[in-house]
């Protein structure tokens, strides 16, 4: 298709807008409300052009380019109208800085006293320097605003986690509303009110949490102004380095960009789309990275327990001390606990260290143990994971998958399928954002698992089970998984198991047949003299080992270790992990390690060398990778035959709630994410009873009130956390020790206000 733009004949593909066609041929038209990922809107009116044969001034972003069209993007009148419109936009946006003659000096020397009367200006805006509005003002070229500036005096909204909202800065371009509805298919955001009172937010004056916001940050990524401000990054300024890497928080290992400034991680963005991008990350990848990376508990150097206290020691000395502790300890006297977040390189060197240097095969992981006895069949099913199955099946059944705050890219693909008419069924306790598109929703089956699942897929030809981590914790998890595994083995159905940890496949490969060996059994057999905790410190009382070496980016609890070795943290060392569909994902280094911290493999190699080995002299992670045999990758696992621990009974009348328990499996390097990131604890706190808001109101309780949970003879007290994600009658307790205190899982309980 050919058209003429500003006297130049340009080519454009069929169906593009004039704006796209112009951009394509290098003609810049100022625009604010348009965004490549969103449907055209036509609200800001900056992109007005003249088209021969059309009345008035059509907007380039909403008008389809057509064969033979003649478009003019700059005439004297257009220029004048644009300047007028831009002035109108700015008169609703406190931005005197944009026109201030001292703007430059102010930028280098901070706020000048001339701005004393203006509470909000660019120099005090968190978005300063990465603002689309600033760029547009620059390109249109304004020297003054002929109108008074309206300050709308809207209170800044700061109560929700992760980002604040100052709608006094909002220009109502509607990008946030559109990305929330169109790309995230969530619909938390909407326009409210009319005329000068028009604003943005959840309808009916609910908070973002109440309205079902996933805190994915997509709105933030596309906002052209400083209206939406990331709490953690408010004053960090513009990044000076951007590194393409992978998210460390689950088995998807989503692509993301790590933003750094002055060698410190300040934030992340979804891949490769600049400052204004769509959002395919979940809350963890979008907001939790800098907080995990810069946590106050980060270790800057090694420490050793000496008589009378703890002593900071240089790395050299720490390595010698480790070698000393390990000297003469061999075989069964040495055990190592490992985190499923470690890279393949770290795991490989750790395996060699334990097996070759320490002559011990006593490797285990408390994180794997926390996933329960069904982890074996879960991983066996996962071995067949193919992300492409989502698009190829005719019926998707999600079991135990809570897409509220995780696995967003999977949820978006499922929702896109459901929206285009694919059958989507949900089984589980939680009402997540995909629920509105589900054809059917069922609670977790309490018995007859196989028949129940069979029934769900009865009419489907190519059914796909999507298994979320929550499938692992009910007492009949093995029965459910055995049923799914039978379907996959017989070819009746496919399955996609969502791995909750960054490199669970890698750890499984290292541990092989011993994967399901309980870490606690290992720790309590009395033979261990030295326990090496590689980013995996068991909770509870100090294990019965003579010495404990703790290697981690984070400080351990006091007196839990004899020697603490600082490992490189998030984005501080390169490596490889196996994603949940078995593909290697590359994690890149974005900043230097904190203090004297070193990559895990380097510390282990140094200790091995100090113990006299000469075959641990890797130059870099690449060399380790070359050494790893190809078989050090996904391999099918032996698994337990389905053995239910007894089905849970339907709730009796006096115990009207069904309580589901699960561990805080969202973790990073052996530490629960809700312990590392306060905002995440607002969403999924440990030790709280999550309850349907209606149920909470009936009980007369609000957020934080203590309730007594009773089941048979057992009783315990917890604070409540009302959440719209829970259906009436359902409770969820995230707790580090899932077996604690209740006779079954799920468990029929009664709830009373204390």
């Amino acid at each position: 298709m050919k058209l003429v733009i500003d006297n130049r004949t340009v080519e454009a593909p069929e169906g593009t807008t004039i704006l796209d066609a112009a951009r394509h041929s290098g003609v810049a038209i100022p625009s604010l409300c348009s965004h490549p990922e969103l449907t055209p809107y036509g609200g800001c009116r900056l992109c007005i052009v003249e088209v021969e044969g059309m009345r008035g001034f059509p907007t380039a972003c909403t008008t389809r380019a057509e064969e033979g069209m003649t478009v003019r993007t700059v005439t004297a009148e257009i220029r004048q109208l644009r300047r007028e419109v831009l002035q109108l936009i700015l008169s609703e946006h406190p931005a005197s800085c944009l026109m201030c003659e001292e703007a430059e000096a102010c930028a280098s020397f901070q706020t000048t006293i001339r701005k004393a009367g203006v509470t909000t200006g660019c120099r005090t805006c968190t978005n300063d320097g990465r603002c689309d509005l600033q760029e547009v003002v620059e390109s249109v070229g304004l020297e003054e605003i002929a109108y008074p500036i309206y300050y709308r005096n809207i209170p800044v909204e700061k109560d929700d986690p992760f980002y604040d909202r100052d709608y006094n800065l909002c220009i109502l371009c509607g990008r946030c509303v559109r990305i929330c509805q169109e790309v995230r298919m969530n619909g938390t955001l909407a326009f409210k009110q009319r005329g000068r009172r028009t604003t943005i937010g959840p309808a009916f004056d609910r908070s973002h949490l109440e309205a079902g916001c996933e805190f994915c940050g997509a709105c933030l990524s596309v906002c052209p102004t400083g209206t939406l401000g990331e709490k953690g990054r408010k004053w960090a300024g513009a990044p000076d380095a951007t590194t393409a890497s992978a998210c460390p928080f689950c088995g998807l290992a989503c692509d993301l960009q790590i933003l750094a400034r002055k060698d410190t991680i300040i934030g992340t963005l979804p891949p490769d789309t600049g400052t204004c991008s769509g959002g395919t990350l979940c809350v963890k990848g979008r907001f939790c990275v800098p907080e995990a990376a810069n946590h106050p508990d980060r270790l800057a150097g090694p420490a050793a327990r000496v008589e009378g206290g703890v002593l900071g020691v240089p790395m050299e000395e720490a390595i010698q001390r480790a070698a000393g502790l390990l000297k003469g300890v061999e075989g069964g006297a040495f055990a190592m606990l490992l985190s499923p977040d470690l890279s393949l390189e770290d795991l490989w060197v750790a395996g060699r260290f334990a097996r070759e240097v320490m002559k011990s095969d006593r490797l285990a992981s408390t994180a794997v143990e926390a996933l329960g006895p069904a982890v074996g069949p879960f991983l066996e099913v996962a071995a067949g994971n193919r992300l492409a199955d989502i698009g190829e099946s005719d019926c998707i059944v999600a079991v135990g998958a809570d897409f509220s705050y995780g696995f967003s890219p999977i949820a978006l693909r499922i929702m896109a399928e459901a929206r285009s008419g694919r059958r989507y069924i949900r089984v589980g306790a939680i009402e997540d954002p995909t629920a509105k598109l589900a054809r059917e929703s069922h609670p977790h089956p309490l018995a007859q698992e196989s028949a129940f699942l069979e029934h769900l897929i009865a009419s489907a030809h190519r059914p796909l089970f999507v298994l979320g981590p929550d499938v692992l914790f009910p007492d009949n998890a093995e029965a459910v998984l055995a049923a799914v595994r039978n379907f996959t083995r017989s070819g009746r159905a496919k399955a996609l198991a969502l791995l909750p940890h960054h490199n669970l496949f890698g750890l499984a490969a290292l541990l092989g047949d011993t994967l399901e060996r309980g870490a606690s059994a290992l720790l309590n057999d009395g033979a261990i003299r030295v326990l090496y905790c590689l980013e995996n410190l068991p909770g509870g009382p100090r294990p019965a080992a003579v010495s404990v070496i703790h290697q981690s980016p984070f400080r351990p609890p006091a007196s839990s270790a004899d020697l603490v070795l600082p490992a490189a943290g998030m984005g501080e060392a390169p490596g490889t992990v196996l994603t949940l569909d078995g593909q290697p994902a590359v994690v890149r280094q974005a900043v230097g390690p904190r203090g004297t911290a070193l990559p895990d493999w380097k510390i282990l190699s140094a200790i091995a060398t100090a113990m006299g080995r000469t075959d641990f002299n890797y130059a870099d992670a690449g060399e380790i990778r070359r050494e790893m045999p190809p078989s050090f990758a996904l391999k099918p696992l032996r698994s337990l035959e389905g053995q239910t621990r007894g089905p849970a009974a339907a709730p009796p009348a006096n115990q009207p709630f069904l309580l589901h328990r699960r561990p805080p499996y969202e973790s990073f390097r052996g530490v629960a994410l809700n312990a590392l990131v306060p905002g995440f604890a607002d969403l999924l706190p440990s030790g709280h009873i999550a309850i349907n808001p209606g149920d909470a109101a009936r009980l007369g309780t609000t957020d934080g009130d203590i309730v007594r949970v009773e089941a048979g003879g057992a009783a315990a007290e917890f604070p409540v956390k009302p959440s719209p994600r829970l259906t009436p009658g359902t409770l969820v307790l995230i707790h580090a020790d899932p077996s604690a205190r209740f006779p079954s899982n799920p468990c029929a309980v009664n709830l009373r206000r204390r």
Binding site: P40, Y41, G42, G43, C44, R45, I48, G56, F57, P58, T59, T62, T63, R64, L81, E84, V85, L88, I89, S91, E92, A146, Y147, P148, Y150, I171, L172, G174, A190, F191, Q193, R194, G195, R196, R197, T198
Partner: protein, 625 residues
């Protein structure tokens, strides 16, 4: 005999039984205007009077006949006699009216306003010879005020569904041609030729198409559409069926604001009756044409009358317009080709189909054929709903039909809040889409607001713009922000703080908003300002330079004072004044302290109406302030 002929025969029988001269009928206007004036209380007292005198009469509730200023209206027809009409009936009169007709056999001469008889009657004018009605031509409103709007048979007996019946005998393309030939233009505001719109839609590709009746009618002071639905809902529904048949649609919606409960109720009843008689649903009147209609109640946002916003609202989204093209005829409701027509456009169609295009072209002008309804409001003697052939000069409408203004005429605003404010020199403008546009105004949906010298046009411009500004959907910058700045400038001017350069700013803003707004709401919003700036510039200058409001409306420009010669010293005003600005001993001339006066008007009212006061308080503007 076809289904329709049978139905028609039955309807005529029922209608003749009622009006054929064998029964006493008392007709009562109970549309919203009648009800607001107290029609239901009148009905009760008529029933009591009938019972008291032991006489029988059928009470027939009808829609508004148009003379809203005469509501409540009661008409009495005795067997064999003509129908006599009474206006502004109070419940207390019922007894005398009933007694006069039924016992004395003659109308109550002191109260009767007209009759509907064929022959002249001594001393009583024919109703349609009244000055308000003589210049009118009633096509759309033909049945309003005559039939029971809740009775399908009344409609059919008076020509209803004959147009549809005729249309169904022709191929759809011929129906479109007939409407094209009639030259009917959309009555919702823009005047787009209805036939052409249909042609586009019928040629658009798509299995499923829709017809939407736009009954949003959000202009303040406009009630034509409501009145038509309340008075003759079947005309509108029949029009939808004709449109549906012509473009190949099988589904229609009436988008109506929830503030019109009576109209909604009447539509629902009408649809139930249609369904029962085979006029709605599968195989209408035994033809292969099937059509169903749903009612969508709008929340009452002005912008929802704009067609793309209306579609969004029906789809359950926020009522916000989008840019066109694509037009609804290409991509409308649920992305499918959709015809949206105004209530009056649809209500006219049955008449065109029944009587033919040539007949319709017999009214109005070449470019503006047919008739148009207007709601006549403001500072005018006879307010109401009128229907006139297009091309009639404004002067005739305002002075002959409306009876003129009490004080000297100053301006007329056509087209509702987004229309223009026209001065006396435009009174000879023939009413038409182009002629009004040329004057800087619009036809709009037919609101006519008349102003006399007691109305300040600067204040009126401020009022309309403020309305628009509050109703802006907020989507596009010029409409949301530009109108806000305009309102503030106008507030400054009417507040006595205007500056000369404000006029240039207003002009510039008005041009920007007009040229760059997304939808019709923003594009027409500046009209009241642009027209008043052009035709009443001197008033703006008086406000700014002399702090003078000739209409004595703009409060900050007013001054209250006491005429000493008239003051009786009664002290009524002293008690009424909330700020103690008036002082003075009894029986002596009082003193009004302007610095304390808040211009609340209390003293003025009391001095004017209290018997012992002397009407001594005067309000004036520009008195050397």
């Amino acid at each position: 005999m076809t289904d329709f002929e049978r139905l028609k025969e039955q309807s005529i029988r029922e209608w003749t039984d009622l009006t054929g001269g064998t029964r006493a009928v008392i007709t009562l206007g109970t549309a919203s205007c009648g009800r607001a004036a107290g029609a239901m209380a009148v009905r009760r007292s008529i029933e009591e009077a009938l019972a008291k005198h032991g006489v029988e009469a059928r009470i027939l509730e009808v829609g508004c006949i148009g003379s809203c200023y005469l509501e409540p209206m009661v008409d009495v027809t005795l067997p064999g006699g003509p129908r006599f009409s009474y206006g502004n009936v109070q419940p207390a009169w019922a007894e005398r009216i009933v007694a006069s007709h039924f016992l004395e056999g003659k109308p109550l001469a002191s109260k009767v306003v007209g009759h509907f008889g064929r022959d002249a009657i001594e001393g009583i004018p024919g109703f349609f010879d009244l000055p308000m009605f003589a210049p009118q031509v009633r096509i759309v409103l033909k049945n309003c005020g005559f039939i029971d709007p809740e009775n399908l048979h009344h409609s059919i007996a008076n020509g209803g569904y004959a147009g549809l019946h005729k249309a169904l005998q022709k191929p759809p393309g011929d129906v479109i041609s007939e409407v094209e030939a009639a030259g009917l233009r959309g009555r919702g505001g823009a005047g787009f030729p209805t036939g052409r719109k249909w042609r586009f839609c019928s040629e658009a590709e798509g299995e499923m198409k829709y017809v939407i009746c736009n009954a949003d009618e959000g202009d303040p002071g406009a009630f034509m559409n409501r009145s038509l639905i309340e008075g003759d809902p079947h005309a509108v529904l029949e029009g939808m069926l004709i449109a549906g048949y012509a473009i190949g649609a099988s589904r229609g919606y009436v988008y109506i604001r929830a503030e019109y409960p009576l109209a909604i109720e009447r539509l629902k009843k009408a649809m139930a009756q249609m369904r029962a008689e085979g006029l709605l649903g599968e195989g209408i009147l035994g033809s292969p044409f099937s059509f169903d209609i749903g009612i969508k109640e709008g929340a009452g946002a002005f912008v929802c009358g704009e067609e793309t916003a209306l579609i969004a609202s029906i789809e359950g989204r926020r009522g916000m317009p989008r840019t066109r093209p694509p037009f609804p005829v290409q991509e409308g409701l649920h992305g499918r080709p959709t015809v949206i027509n105004n209530v009056e456009t649809l209500g006219t169609l049955p008449h065109i189909l029944r009587n033919g295009a040539a007949w319709y072209r017999g009214f109005g002008t070449e470019a503006n054929p047919g008739t148009k309804t207007f709601s006549l409001v403001g500072k005018i003697r006879r307010t109401g709903l009128i229907e006139v052939p297009l091309g009639m000069p404004l002067r005739k409408i305002i002075f002959d039909i409306g009876g003129g203004t009490l004080k000297p005429f100053r301006a007329v605003q056509t087209g509702g809040p987004s229309g223009g404010c026209l001065s006396e020199e435009f009174l000879d403008t023939p009413v038409g889409y182009e002629s009004l546009a040329k004057a800087g105004s619009i036809m709009g949906s037919g609101g006519l607001i008349v102003m006399d010298t007691d109305t300040c046009v600067v204040d009126i411009a401020r009022y309309f713009l403020d309305f628009i500004q509050k109703e802006s959907c907020g989507k596009c910058t010029p409409c949301r922000v530009g109108t806000r700045h305009m309102v503030e400038i106008l507030e400054r001017i009417t507040g006595g703080e205007g500056e000369l350069r404000d006029l240039d700013k207003l002009q510039l803003l008005a041009q920007t908003v007009k040229k760059t707004s997304l939808c019709g709401l923003g594009q027409t919003a500046p009209n009241p300002v642009l027209t008043t700036l052009a035709y009443f510039r001197s008033e703006y200058l008086q406000h700014i330079q002399e702090r003078y409001c000739s209409a004595v409306v703009c409060r900050p420009l007013l001054e209250y004072f006491i005429i000493p010669e008239k003051c009786t010293g009664c002290q009524r005003c002293v008690a009424a004044c909330p700020t103690g600005a008036i002082t003075g001993p009894r029986a002596e001339v009082h003193n009004l302290d302007a610095s304390k006066c808040i211009k609340c008007r209390s003293c003025y009212e009391i001095c004017r109406f209290e018997a012992i006061a002397g009407n001594a308080i005067q309000i004036r503007s520009g008195g050397g302030l």
